[in-house]
């Protein structure tokens, strides 16, 4: 019996097709994984099911009936609940109040009755929570259980979980899986969005793999393997750019030794990372987002202090350097988030000058003429479509990235740290940014490329390191890179193979 049938779902965002005629079936009483890389279209598809997006084409059936889901409230009425990574809970209210919030049916709420009803629901569904606890005192795992209970309390029979394990520690993952198992036994259906192979193989009955907005296939767990799933997830026919011939590696310019750092919540995000990048080399760090790349790039940029280890550029120790010192030591930095690198309300010339402000001061005053000439020169050199006095925020993403690139590369840095340098860019801008990185390599710079785009890593890198949960789990020469093996390492397959190069 089908709980959900989605037929021919197509969703476009401007020129991008996020979902391209997707068919997806969910049976009653099954846990069904949606597996795919970042940007494969998993979340878009589920947002359509939950009424957050509207499909351009296609049809959704719930329990065999054609359903029009215009907004989440329609989805909730149809018995569909969704739990995202960003919880919608009020920290200062109790668990019970959060669960009944917006579902009380009357203006007045009797806290005792609410507590009792929520406790009953928690017992019925086997979700362990204390209804009187304040949400702000709960751990992330407990908050997630409250979100799940909230959906169940609204009579959800289909539960969508968007990367539920991304925010959890391992013990909480085990508890989550027990909860899901229990729900399946009660006949509920769960859609489990993930890109972690072993989790999918542990908890799910069937797996649908998406890639570039298409369904690659739906397989039974019993009839597949982690290796096959990895191949389905990342397998590609062609690579965008011709692979680079590897040049003899020069002296090591960037040395990262046993580096550790914590994320915003104070949890370990990178755990003993060691890497070396030589002159004239691009070292690509591949990995699914959220595995420590952000923190690694912040530490290297000087905006995050590591908790252990060292960073050396040439023979200078930059472990605790601030961003100005890092920049002054000849490290060109392209941040992961463009808005982290450019100030929208300042103009292009000011953004270009800001990192090297000392060069533009004459007699204690800013030399606006020099700032402008500097901008004009870089605008011409980097083919930026903007004038020096345009505010940054009026530029397209590609041009903002070119401004950041121009600023990072204009001083001929010895080391380049490029984080997701082409994320969200169109084809032309992407090719341009990649060619500039290759130019740095030919010039003899050491380039560390952190990218979630496997094509990009494969196309540009001399060597590829794979990062998973804050550790480098593999390091291989790009020539010998094998997609299936990379896919396995990136998704933390427990039989993951370690290769040293």
């Amino acid at each position: 019996m089908h709980a959900i049938q989605m037929r021919g779902i197509t969703k476009r965002f401007g020129p991008v097709i996020a979902n391209n005629h997707i068919d997806f079936d969910l049976m009653r009483g099954e846990i069904h994984a949606l597996l795919g890389e970042n940007g494969a279209g998993k979340t878009t598809l589920m947002r359509i099911l939950y009424g957050l997006y509207h499909a351009d084409e296609g049809e959704v059936r719930v329990n065999g009936q054609v359903a029009h889901v215009a907004a989440p409230k329609d989805a909730i009425q149809l018995g569909i609940g969704m739990v995202t990574q960003h919880f919608a809970l009020v920290p200062t209210l109790s668990v019970a109040e959060n669960v009944v919030l917006g579902y009380t049916g009357s203006f007045r709420v009797n806290p005792q009755v609410a507590r009792q009803k929520v406790a009953e629901a928690a017992a019925r569904f086997g979700v362990e929570v204390n209804p009187s606890a304040l949400v702000r005192h709960l751990s992330v795992g407990e908050r997630q259980r409250v979100e799940i209970l909230k959906a169940l309390y609204r009579n959800a029979r289909v539960l969508i979980l968007d990367e539920p394990t991304a925010v959890l520690v391992p013990q909480e993952v085990d508890m989550l899986f027990q909860t899901l198992e229990r729900l399946r036994q009660d006949g509920l259906s769960v859609i489990f969005i993930s890109h972690k192979l072993y989790e999918v193989m542990t908890v799910c009955d069937r797996i649908t793999v998406l890639r570039d907005g298409h369904v690659v296939g739906t397989v039974d767990k019993a009839a597949t393997s982690q290796a096959e799933l990895a191949r389905m997830m990342v397998g590609r026919e062609t690579f965008g750019v011709a692979r680079q011939e590897r040049k003899p590696q020069g002296e090591v310019l960037l040395r990262i030794e046993n580096l550790s750092a914590v994320d915003e919540k104070g949890l370990p995000a990178i755990k003993g990372v060691s890497l070396e990048v030589g002159a004239g080399e691009i070292l690509g760090v591949a990995g699914v987002s959220g595995n420590g790349q952000t923190e690694l790039s912040h530490v290297l940029a000087g905006t995050l202090k590591p908790t252990g280890g060292r960073v050396l550029v040439g023979d200078r120790d930059l472990t605790l350097a601030d961003p100005a010192q890092v920049s002054g030591m000849g490290v060109g930095r392209i941040p992961e988030d463009r808005h982290e690198g450019a100030i929208g309300e300042l103009n292009v010339a000011e953004n270009l000058a800001l990192e090297y402000l000392g060069e533009f001061i004459t007699a204690g005053m800013l030399d606006h003429q020099r700032i402008r000439r500097h901008a004009e020169q870089l605008i011409a050199e980097y083919q930026i479509k903007a004038s020096p006095t345009d505010r940054m925020r009026t530029l397209s993403g590609g041009n903002i990235q070119k401004v950041i690139l121009a600023r990072a590369l204009s001083r001929n840095p010895q080391v380049v740290i490029a984080s997701q340098p082409t994320r969200g860019l169109d084809v032309g801008a992407t090719e341009y940014v990649r060619s500039k990185l290759l130019e740095q390599r030919s010039r003899g710079a050491a380039v560390l490329l952190l990218s979630e785009d496997l094509d990009e890593v494969l196309a540009l890198s001399d060597r590829i390191a794979v990062i998973y949960e804050g550790r480098i789990v593999g390091l291989i020469p790009a020539k010998e890179a094998d997609l299936e093996q990379l896919g396995l390492m990136m998704s933390g397959a427990r039989e993951g193979i370690r290769v040293e190069a």
Partner: protein
């Protein structure tokens, strides 16, 4: 069928420069309800608000007198806000400057004005900066919200003033809570004989000029704007966010302190408890109305000075409460803030 849809689209530049003007018109329409309620004719009221104060030389000069502390507190707040430091404490920093002036003015007895007045100004600046220091340090070292701490210090300084005036500085003869008169050499000279317009007005204009110069012509100004407009990006490119904020906060406090010096040395010649009827808070209105730009702040301060003077005239001529001026100011701030947000949207008519 026609539908209205709201979409995000920034208003064109020419529209943005019109915003203060439109805000004034909208405010007058809104507050005219109150004017009518108070039993007056709105048009007559606004004529008194806007035109009457400028119709005689005496009252026009009085507009400038009223504007003097407002120019300074407006500049003080704009300076801090430019760096994203939300200094709500200009009121307290003004009082700190006034305390310093009241003390120095007595101590400097016998010195010629060329020496005494610069010391008064410097002392007031330092006092204002010192009063701003605790909040600024808490902000950059411990990330304590400066809105709260600067605001709270405003109340603290009032108690300090009260303690001084009811304690050591109480006037021994009359017993009034007011400090001894400052020395003649420490008092600001009058710019125009037989008016109240004093040297402080020139100081205020100079500060407005410096505000423009620093924000648009110096590295500090660019760093401040970078921190104010995009703290993370500023940090990324190597701007020391902490040092920049600290500088902005202290200079802001110093400028507010100058406003206090002006009131003591130019108007009252001693310290009293109500020396500022909220100039520091009005400075927030002025900085916001002026869009944090020097010229805007200058115009806004003169405009509020006009309304303040006008409120007296309206009240005398039409018998409405003088507080109507405060209501107009407050409404003006709300309308302007609302328009700063609304300018980012436009209404689209869609026909199905």
């Amino acid at each position: 069928m026609l539908r209205l849809e709201i979409e995000r689209a920034p208003a064109p530049i020419w529209m943005r420069s019109l915003i203060p003007v439109i805000a004034v018109l909208v405010t007058f329409v809104l507050t005219s309800v109150l004017v009518v309620w108070a039993g007056a004719n709105p048009l007559a009221a606004y004529r008194h608000f806007l035109i009457s104060p400028l119709s005689s030389k005496v009252s026009a000069l009085e507009v400038l007198v009223k504007s003097t502390p407002l120019l300074l507190t407006g500049a003080a707040v704009a300076f801090a806000f430019s760096a994203g430091y939300w200094n709500i404490g200009a009121e307290g920093q003004l009082y700190a400057g006034a305390i310093a002036a009241a003390w120095l003015g007595v101590v400097l007895e016998g010195l010629p004005p060329v020496i005494a007045i610069p010391i008064m100004l410097a002392g007031g600046f330092v006092a204002g900066a010192l009063w701003a220091l605790p909040s600024a340090l808490l902000k950059v070292k411990l990330a304590v919200d400066e809105v709260v701490t600067t605001l709270l210090l405003n109340s603290v300084v009032l108690f300090v003033v009260s303690a001084l005036l009811n304690g050591p500085w109480r006037d021994p003869i009359s017993g009034w809570p007011q400090s001894p008169e400052i020395a003649a050499g420490a008092a600001f000279p009058k710019l125009i004989p037989r008016s109240r317009l004093h040297l402080g007005f020139l100081v205020a204009l100079l500060v407005i000029g410096l505000l423009w110069f620093i924000l648009s012509r110096t590295a500090l100004g660019l760093r401040m704007r970078a921190v104010g407009l995009g703290q993370e990006a500023a940090r990324f490119v190597g701007v020391s966010v902490e040092r920049t904020m600290l500088t902005a906060a202290l200079v802001s406090g110093g400028i507010a302190g100058l406003a206090g010096v002006g009131e003591v040395a130019g108007i009252h010649f001693h310290l009293i408890e109500g020396i500022s009827p909220g100039y520091g808070y009005t400075g927030i209105i002025i900085a916001t109305l002026g869009g944090l730009h020097a010229a805007g702040v200058g115009l806004a301060a003169l405009f509020i000075g006009l309304i303040d003077t006008g409120a007296q005239t309206v009240s005398r001529a039409l018998g409405v409460p003088v507080y109507l001026g405060d209501v107009v100011q407050a409404a003006l701030l709300l309308v302007t803030l609302g328009m700063f947000i609304l300018q980012n949207y436009r209404i689209k008519v869609i026909s199905d």
